[in-house]
Symmetry: C2
Subunit: 344 residues, 2 copies
DNA sequence: TTTTAGCACTCCGTTATGGCGAGTGCTAAT
DNA sequence: ATTAGCACTCGCCATAACGGAGTGCTAAAA
């Protein structure tokens, strides 16, 4: 049995309706909402076929049908329609981008908030992965005996800092010259190769502090790879709007899952190969997200892939709108990041 | 009518019981849980008195009594008992402090997580207020034509960065020397007085770039005052555990409230005068927190007040435990921050 | 005078019940 | 191949009935 045109139309109508209503849709209501001119009985027959094929399911006998994950998959693969951001959506975005544009990370945070407000789902944004960045500056600032703050700056305009131990006999002047030496030597090195580069040709001026420099650079490379807290999460509470999560039990489970930021990070990181990804329900690896769908897009800086952002919502999410919003935000984001790093 | 010893004992028993059970407590159940040897009838009479005095309330006739905000106030003012952290609590804290100690802010983030795990309430931590800090370093790193990243470092080992516009004809060398001049001139200035100091005695080398320097320093002072996102929030989902928030409606309201970080920041900032504060139910100014209580404590660096952290829970929270936990964490935090900035 | 046993009463929360409505599958007619 | 008609299924909801926990009051006991 194949999916002919009529079956597709009916399937689509069921999905559209279910996305709106969240309750099983029946043969009658479908005929009204979409303008399908077959009789309820015909539609019922087709729906029975669709159920046999695994696209629809019945919560219990004598209830309407709900779409299966397989149906959503078909829907997103074949039935999406392009659309630009609506004026209202664009207005919300602009409001968030008007303020606090003093760095990439703050732009990304605003993006997360805007996304959740626009879609009413949960937004996640991965902070930039510095692995592909190039070192622009390293500064060691003495704080107290044996302690200093190391700050690195990359070509993408991102800074990371960490308090580090230094040899007790190290003077501020020595720290300063060390900063300059490393900056010079590793200027424009990828963050992942900083220590390699420097270690291969350790100069005389570094030799006496070899161990320290080694430890320092390891630290620097570490901090380039983002760890915990490198995901911005916004609007998790939105999920409570939806009947799926009206049960406090389920809501708690969801909130617990998204509070595990490292898991979210791994998920987003994984999605960073692809310009867009849509992961539906059970396709998710994470246990707590198996009743959710995740849609992601990548953002770039200077045409280099930099990170991923996305939307988490119930499986019954408005895929069409979400995809279009992500696309629109992706473009806006590219422009903002561009203007942040290039002359206006 | 005065509160004699017996009334106090009964009031306390009611509060203790209610904190545990979350349901109105009656004269009978109270006698069992506490070992009060008066008969239920006597206890009933006393409870009626306590109600007349405003310490207890009845949800409806023929139900048990629940404590009023006034009762909690009395409780926290007169009935708390000191206790150190339990072994288990200390173990959790240690677990969080073992990892990620590369800066004050990451310690504070871990603190928030630990607090919410230990107490099962919602934890908030205000990121350090740099107003009282002193400048240790300012670095301008060129990024592209007309763009640079400014990084400041304070004596407390905190860095803040922002992408800024620079005059197009400014060379990297000029930026570097500008960085050095400002750092030198303003070394150890309070962050709030940096621009005053520099502007009062603008040197010849800065004169030609006067406008730019002025704008830059304003920016720096701004970023010293924390803005949005300067509150770390952890465990908001914990509130869903409690019957008070079993209603999805209420839970949503709460989550919406705590997602407004600027409001939280203002609240914590206000509490920073006092070593400890306890704000009960309707004493809260924020509308969304009027069914909650907030307990805060301050943290210090080098004996200087630096910020505030605290716990938000239902009005029916275990004040005794929360206060003791905050006190214990305060001590641990002081030690960690100390070790971060002083030689070991 | 204070405390306590006894009792009638109140009211919430839970469970049982029955009707309603939306939907289905099947059959027979178109 | 499509559709009208029909009997049937089940979840949902409002109502009623019930049991339990707790109260206030009164009168007896300490």
């Amino acid at each position: 049995m194949e999916l002919d045109e009529r079956k597709l139309q009916i399937l689509r109508a069921v999905i559209d309706e279910y996305i709106l209503s969240a309750s099983p849709v029946g043969s009658k209501s479908i005929r009204q909402s979409a303008e399908l001119n077959w009789s309820p009985a015909t539609i019922r027959n087709e729906m029975a076929d669709l159920e046999a094929l695994g696209y629809l399911a019945q919560p219990h006998t004598s209830a309407g049908r709900i779409p299966s994950d397989k149906a959503y998959r078909l829907y997103v693969d074949r039935m999406l329609e392009r659309a630009a951001l609506s004026e209202q959506e664009q207005a919300i975005l602009n409001r968030y981008y008007e303020t606090r544009i003093d760095g990439i990370e703050s732009v990304l945070r605003s993006t997360a908030q805007a996304l959740s407000e626009i879609t009413h789902y949960t937004a996640v944004v991965m902070m930039p992965d510095l692995a592909a960045n190039r070192l622009r500056h390293l500064q060691l600032v003495p704080l107290a005996e044996g302690k200093a703050l190391s700050v690195i700056v990359t070509d993408a305009g991102v800074a990371r800092d960490a308090i580090i131990d230094i040899p007790k006999d190290m003077t501020p002047d020595e720290l300063e010259s060390l900063s300059r030496t490393i900056t010079q030597r590793c200027y424009n090195c990828r963050m992942t190769t900083v220590s390699d580069r420097l270690m291969r040709e350790v100069g005389a001026e570094l030799q006496s502090r070899g161990d320290f420099v080694k430890a320092l650079l390891t630290r620097v490379e570490q901090s380039a790879q983002s760890g915990t807290n490198m995901v911005e999460l916004s609007g998790a509470r939105n999920m409570l709007r939806y009947p799926e999560y009206n049960d406090v039990e389920k809501a708690t489970t969801f909130l617990a899952t998204v509070e595990q930021r490292d898991e979210l990070y791994r998920m987003l990181k994984k999605a960073s190969d692809m310009e867009f990804t849509i992961t539906i329900g059970s396709e998710n690896e994470q246990r707590g997200l198996q009743d959710c769908s995740v849609v992601t897009a990548t953002y770039r800086v200077n045409d280099m892939p930099f990170g991923t952002f996305g939307i988490i919502g119930p499986t019954r999410m408005d895929y069409n709108r979400v995809v279009n919003v992500l696309q629109g935000v992706q473009q806006n984001l590219a422009a903002i990041l561009q203007s942040l790093l290039k002359e206006d």
